[in-house]
Structures are given as C-alpha cells and as structure tokens.
C-alpha cells in the first residue's frame, strides 16, 4: 500500500522535506516509525504525535490501507 507521510514544524526540518511517499505492507504505527527513524535518524530525538487520515492515533494502531500519515510536533511560540 502507498502512504503519504506529512511532516510539520521542526519534524520537516529533521527530515528535510515536507512530505514523502512510502510503499509498505500492512504495519502498525510504531513499525512505520521504526522505518522512518532509520531513514531520518534525527526523528529519534524528537517529540511528536501521529495522525492517520486526520485522526490522532496511538502507536499500536494498524494501518491497513492507503493513508495519509502526519507527524505533529508541539509548538511553544507565541
């Protein structure tokens, strides 16, 4: 299945791209994150939440079909 991964805020700076496409078999969010952390090691030191198709999910959530994934970091600025 094809996933679109969208990066926000400092996550996009760590991955040096606002989004990317990934071809992957059914997987949990944590399995997906393991792959992304290998490709983008800076993600290991970052805090963020994950959304699948605009819904915030926990890391044990299983992705079973083509989806849009978003990595959302907290912002502090005001």
């Amino acid at each position: 299945m094809q996933l679109t991964i969208k990066y926000f805020g400092m996550i996009a700076e760590a991955t040096t791209m606002p989004e990317e496409q990934l071809q992957i078999e059914h997987c949990s969010v944590s399995e997906l994150l393991e792959k992304l952390k290998i490709a983008h090691p800076k993600l290991n030191h970052m805090d963020f939440k994950v959304a699948v198709d605009q819904q915030l999910v926990q890391e044990n959530y299983t992705i079973t079909k083509e989806a849009e994934i978003a990595l959302l970091p907290p912002f502090a600025g005001g």
Partner: protein, 363 residues
C-alpha cells in the same frame, strides 16, 4: 452605551443582532500573554465589545516586538505589556472593562484568576505556562482557546470545552527541554501570530455567541508558506483529565518548570559531595538502611515524611540530598523544589557511592 454606532456592523449580522451584542458585553475573557498572539486577540476582542477583558503579562515591550505586536509603538518600549496594551485598548474601546495583571502567571494566582473569567486564551510562549494554563482550566472548568506558532506554521484548538479533550490529551508530556526552540531563538514573521491570534479571537466570539462550529476536539495546523490548512481530530483521554483533577488540592505545589525540564535536576558525584563546605546534608533513607554516612553528619528524614519535616531544613544553605543509590533523592529534590528550595543537589549513586569514595580515600 450606544450599541448602534460602535457595534453597528456586527449587530446587523442576523446571527449576532442586539442579543448577541449583549452576550459579548456580559462575557469575561482572560488573555495569557500580550505578545505576538495576545495582541491580535486583544485587539479584536476589545473591538467586538467583550465586556470584561483580563490581561496578564509580566514582560516589557522591546523594540524587537514591534514588527508583530501590533498594539505597541516605540514610546511603549520598556513599559509592561499588560499596561501598554490597556492604554491602547482603552482608546480603541472605552466602553469595556480592562483588568491588568502585570505579573507572571503562577500556580499561586492562576486558579483565582481563571475562576473570575468565562474563557481563557493562551498566548504564552513556553511549555511550562501552557501546561499550567491547561491544568488550571481543567480544575476551574474553563474552556481554553489555544494557539501556538513555529516559524511559518501555527496551531489552533479549543480545549476543555463541552467535555472535549484537553491539551494533555494531545500532548501528555512536554518535549525534552531545549528540543523545541522559541521565536526569540529562531525567528518569526510578524504576520503569522497575527493570523493565528485572529483565529483564536474568532473561536472566542463563536463560543460566546453560540454560532458556527467551535474548534474543539480538533487541532488545526496552518502553514503560511503553502497556505494550507490541515485539521486533525483529537480524542478526549479521560485518564489524563482525571489525573489533573486528582492533583487539584495540591495544585499550588506543582512545579511546571521542573515538569518541563526548564529547571534541571542537579546531580553531583560522591567526591563533589565531600568537597562541599558549609552545606546541609540530608539522608532520605529509612532508619534501618546501611551504610550510614556519619562523616557528613546528615539530617535524617525518610522520603515519606519529608513534606512534614521541612522545618528542619534551611533555605539559606545549600542542601545536598542522598539516599541508598540516587533514586529517592531525585524525588526528594522535586518535593523540595515545590516548597521553594532552590539551592539543592543530589548525590549520584547515593550512600553506596559516598561510602565507596571514603573507603578508597582511606586506603
């Protein structure tokens, strides 16, 4: 008050009318921070005729604020922001009440201040304040209009509204200290807080007027470079809200700087502990635990009774805490810091390390 001239353009909107204007005039809104986000929020809320507006900010206007903090001019540089904002807003709308609090929002003043208002708007610029604001909103049962920015992007949400999620349901833990930079470190374009703050003001007005759809249970992300909005749904996490409510009776003892890693746990080695002069040593182990470290003549207070025995400890002298291996002593530091002890450190490796160091020294 002459509703028909000042508020004419919004009263002729059929969803608002004179009824709506009366609701706005009866509302009390507290704005935390009169900076990049706070300025547009305050400007539009004052303009709309929110009857009572509270402004809390301890900071003063600096020249580097003027490119985005639109309420201020060069003559305000050096003036407290809450006071400078009131001066401008009283001219914009003299018919409303503006209460200023030129001080820092703390665990001591938050609950009373929040209880006096209907809606809380967070325009702060750091995680310690954001968690403090969130928890105080949960405890006092007030809706929280959240906005935050990073470079060219912004986030908006309404928390704690109609039994919806809170900030902690989205981000239960703050990020590690120093991993999320602030606007003063990395810069910000002036118009971004203008946009995000305007969204916050809009949510406030919708809530008071009871029109449209409030942005609760959702996080809106805005990217000003691509002009894209994305909205994500967030679930309420009951356990997060319950744990905040459970600590409500001791809210004033919370240390949000420590929680957010702004204050660090000060850790010293056994050798450094022996080298200190004119300090108090505190052993937080149970009386039956060995080895004793008599050479340091420590005050003996087991961790479980520490809170009741603080009168034994002076705040004037540095306090070096140890336990058996260095776990309980860290907890003791958290308790001490909640009670205003600032010169505190704990010994890595605890009594075991202290004993080992002394034994090797003798050999």
């Amino acid at each position: 008050m002459d509703f028909n001239s000042r508020y004419h353009r919004q009263i002729i909107l059929p969803e608002i009318g004179e009824e709506g204007q009366k609701k706005l005039n009866a509302a009390k809104v507290l704005v935390i921070g009169a900076g990049g986000l706070g300025c547009p929020v305050l400007q539009y809320l004052s303009g709309a005729g929110i009857g009572t507006i509270g402004i809390i900010d301890f900071d003063v206007v600096e020249t580097s604020n003027l490119h985005r903090q639109v309420l201020y001019g060069k003559n305000d540089v050096g003036t407290n922001k809450a006071l400078a904002a009131k001066k401008r807003l009283s001219d914009l709308n003299p018919d409303i009440v503006i209460n200023v609090y030129p001080e820092k929002l703390t665990v001591k003043n938050a609950l009373t201040l929040f209880a006096d208002h209907d809606i809380i708007v967070d325009g702060s610029d750091n995680f310690s304040t954001r968690y403090l604001v969130n928890d105080a909103c949960i405890i006092t049962g007030k809706p929280l209009v959240y906005g935050a920015i990073f470079k060219y992007q912004g986030q908006v949400s309404v928390f704690n509204y109609n039994n919806g999620p809170s900030y902690r349901c989205l981000f239960p833990e703050p990020p590690s200290a120093g991993t999320v930079p602030s606007c003063s470190e990395i810069g910000v374009i002036g118009v971004l807080p203008g946009i995000i703050g305007s969204f916050q003001a809009n949510e406030v007005l919708k809530m008071i007027l009871g029109i449209g759809e409030v942005l609760d249970g959702k996080l809106m992300m805005y990217d000003s470079l691509s002009t894209q909005f994305s909205t994500f749904s967030i679930q309420r996490v009951a356990s997060q809200i319950e744990s905040v409510l459970a600590t409500a009776p001791r809210f004033e003892k919370n240390n949000y700087d420590l929680f957010c890693g702004v204050e660090y746990i000060q850790e010293i080695s056994a050798e450094e502990a022996y080298q200190k002069e004119d300090v108090q040593y505190l052993d937080v182990r149970e009386p039956h635990e060995y080895p004793k470290v008599d050479s340091l003549s420590p005050i003996l207070i087991p961790l479980g009774t520490l809170e009741n025995e603080l009168h034994q400890l002076s705040k004037e002298k540095e306090l070096i805490v140890f336990c058996q291996s260095g776990i309980r002593s860290k907890k003791a530091l958290q308790i001490l810091s909640q009670y205003g002890y600032t010169r505190i450190a704990h010994v890595k490796g605890g009594a075991i390390a202290l004993n080992e160091f002394q034994t090797t020294k003798i050999e």
